[in-house]
């Protein structure tokens, strides 16, 4: 359950945070209303402005990826765990390389609005059942990640006012959730993109300023930063050595491996990132955008490492752990110490806006999957009119937002980072096998797709249910019950290979006839994935 953390902000900084947050929200909401798809054109709602420059696209991708869990959680991990926290930042970078090298360009060339379109092109027979399975997996991943963001908003509020009462908690989730719904349902992709770009610029500026201040504090001497950090961590040399958090028992080490696997493989299958990949009109722009995103995320990761080490060096590890044992307060404490109330207010409003933007992107991704794959292609069998599909997409955004709010209120005690990494693990075990096989394997069949989608989803969800997150530990959802026979916090290490294996077995079991037709489809698909849709 949520820890008893004390309020760390003073009145002035609290007010400043509020003013900053509200002004950014007002500006972005008005822009979302102004840039909302007016002619009821479905492609504008799903993809937004398709002619944006690579830099702006890259900023939006970076914004979509860096959530509040990353910003607060990763600096906290570094501040508390030293070297093991830094390892986590490295995994993030590898994840972006996966996107750039493997999925980005073929996916854009073969896709239209959602991932379902790519799979339908690759597996024309039985595309309806594949779309249905994919919509379910997308919904599961997006909802979980959305709940993680909303739970994060409660955790963030706790940093300011101490433990909130149930009413305050509900208010916080409902207010943030409603804003998210407005961005997604009315603004569509143009609105979500605008807030994403604004947020990314603010994020990079805020993180850069604070990192420069930390380095200035140590007069740009990395060695002094490292030695002060390990001195003030009260752990001595162990702080900069591996094994502080994920060392010791084999379970710990496996857990770490599982988490890294989920981070590295999950990103390439997250629905809201994938929607961004489909937006650019030409391949050249997409490549530039992803390269920008890799660079920007890399910069944020390096800066987060400096901030985490700086927090330990300047604030002290024990002070951070005292305010919040998970370390989420590290960056705010550091900002307060370095730049006073102004910098703290800047970073904390940034954290709220980050939450809002990522949640809007997720809601939009889930809504478009539901409207395009489930409603338009499965229920109406491709006969739905554009205005109809658009209406359904907007309605779906509202429904998903409300579901997210309800689930967040039920599970407000769980840790944001845990929920977020579960979403990564489910994406990697259910959605990624289908993507990788359809892009690169000739023998992939509809049966394989169905088996890997449903099997990966079921396997990862079941393993989570029987993991220490749900039962048997003091900080799990049901601390009193004990049915946790799966020892790891993250199911990735078992469920990701299981997803790939099921896809392979299902395709082999499909029989020869289906495999032959699928080879024909693959030849056509391969050309399309290289050349792209017909456009001048």
């Amino acid at each position: 359950m949520v820890t008893q953390s004390a309020a760390i902000a003073d009145q002035f900084s609290l007010r400043l945070t509020f003013i900053l947050f509200v002004s950014v929200v007002v500006v972005t909401l008005f822009t979302a209303l102004l840039t909302a798809p007016q002619r009821d054109e479905i492609s504008e709602f799903y993809l937004g402005n398709r002619d944006m420059s690579p830099l702006r696209n890259g900023l939006a991708m970076c914004g979509d990826y860096v959530s509040a869990a990353t910003l607060l959680g990763s600096t906290g991990l570094v501040a508390l765990n030293g070297y093991d926290g830094l390892l986590y930042l490295g995994g993030t970078m590898v994840a972006w390389m996966m996107v750039l090298l493997m999925v980005a360009e073929p996916l854009r060339n073969s896709g239209k609005f959602t991932l379902g379109d790519t799979l339908a092109l690759r597996l024309p027979h039985g595309q309806r059942s594949v779309r249905l399975a994919l919509a379910l997996c997308t919904l599961a991943v997006c909802l979980l990640y959305l709940v993680a963001q909303l739970v994060g908003s409660i955790a963030l509020l706790t940093q300011f006012i101490g433990d909130p009462s149930p009413t305050t908690r509900a208010m916080c989730v409902v207010v943030i959730g409603s804003m998210v719904v407005v961005y997604a349902a009315i603004g569509g992709m143009p609105g979500a993109t605008f807030i994403q770009v604004v947020k990314a610029v603010m994020l990079i500026a805020g993180v850069a300023i604070t990192a420069v201040m930390v380095l200035q504090h140590f007069s740009w001497n990395i060695d002094r930063l490292l030695s002060t950090a390990s001195d003030n961590s009260a752990l001595g040399d162990r702080f900069l050595e591996p094994g502080l958090r994920y060392g010791g028992t084999t379970t710990n080490k496996l857990d770490f491996f599982s988490l890294q696997l989920a981070i590295v493989l999950g990103l390439a299958a997250l629905p809201h990132i994938m929607m961004r990949l489909l937006a650019p009109r030409t391949n050249r722009v997409l490549r530039g955008s992803v390269v920008w995103a890799v660079g920007l995320v890399g910069f944020v990761c390096l800066a987060a490492g400096v901030l985490g080490l700086g927090a330990t060096a300047i604030v002290g590890r024990e002070n951070i752990a005292q305010v919040d044992p998970r370390g989420d307060a590290a960056i705010l404490l550091l900002a307060h110490k370095l730049g006073g109330a102004v910098l703290e207010a800047l970073l904390s409003s940034l954290a709220f806006i980050t939450l809002l933007a990522v949640a809007a992107g997720l809601t939009l991704a889930a809504a478009s999957s539901l409207a395009h794959d489930l409603y338009s292609e499965v229920i109406r069998k491709g006969k739905a009119k554009q205005t109809e599909e658009l209406g359904v997409a907007r309605l779906a955004a509202v429904v998903i937002g409300v579901m997210g709010m309800l689930l967040a209120l039920l599970s407000w005690g769980t840790s944001t980072a845990t929920l977020a990494f579960l979403a990564f693990a489910i994406a990697a075990s259910a959605i990624l096998p289908a993507i990788v096989y359809s892009l690169f394997w000739r023998g992939f069949t509809t049966r394989g797709a169905l088996l890997s989608l449903y099997g990966g989803l079921l396997c990862s969800v079941l393993l989570v249910v029987f993991s220490p997150i749900i039962s048997s530990q003091p900080n799990s959802v049901y601390p009193d019950a004990d049915f946790a026979w799966f020892p790891l916090q993250n199911p990735g290490i078992v469920s990701i290979p299981a997803g790939f294996l099921l896809g392979w077995l299902g395709s082999l079991a499909g029989g020869r006839g289906q495999a032959v037709t699928s080879t024909d489809a693959f030849a056509e698909f391969e050309v399309r994935a290289l050349v792209g849709p017909d456009q001048r």
Partner: protein
């Protein structure tokens, strides 16, 4: 991993920094490879496709003319 290279900078930390460098180099190599090896093929394929379409179009028009003349 815990061997110290310069002051407090251990081998593990240095490897972590090297990873960022490797990523940068890999990105650069990828972009160069795609620009020099793959993009020309894509352009050629696209041109071929357009050529085929035009030929089909012409064949249709020619057939139509013959029909009208007859």
């Amino acid at each position: 991993m815990n061997q110290e290279l310069f002051g407090r900078l251990t081998l593990g930390l240095a490897l972590g920094l090297v990873q960022f460098l490797v990523m940068g180099v890999a990105t650069w190599c990828y972009v160069r490879h795609m620009r020099e090896r793959v993009d020309p093929i894509v352009l050629r394929l696209r041109a071929q496709q357009r050529e085929q379409e035009r030929e089909q179009e012409q064949a249709r028009v020619a057939a139509g003319r013959r029909f009208r003349a007859w």
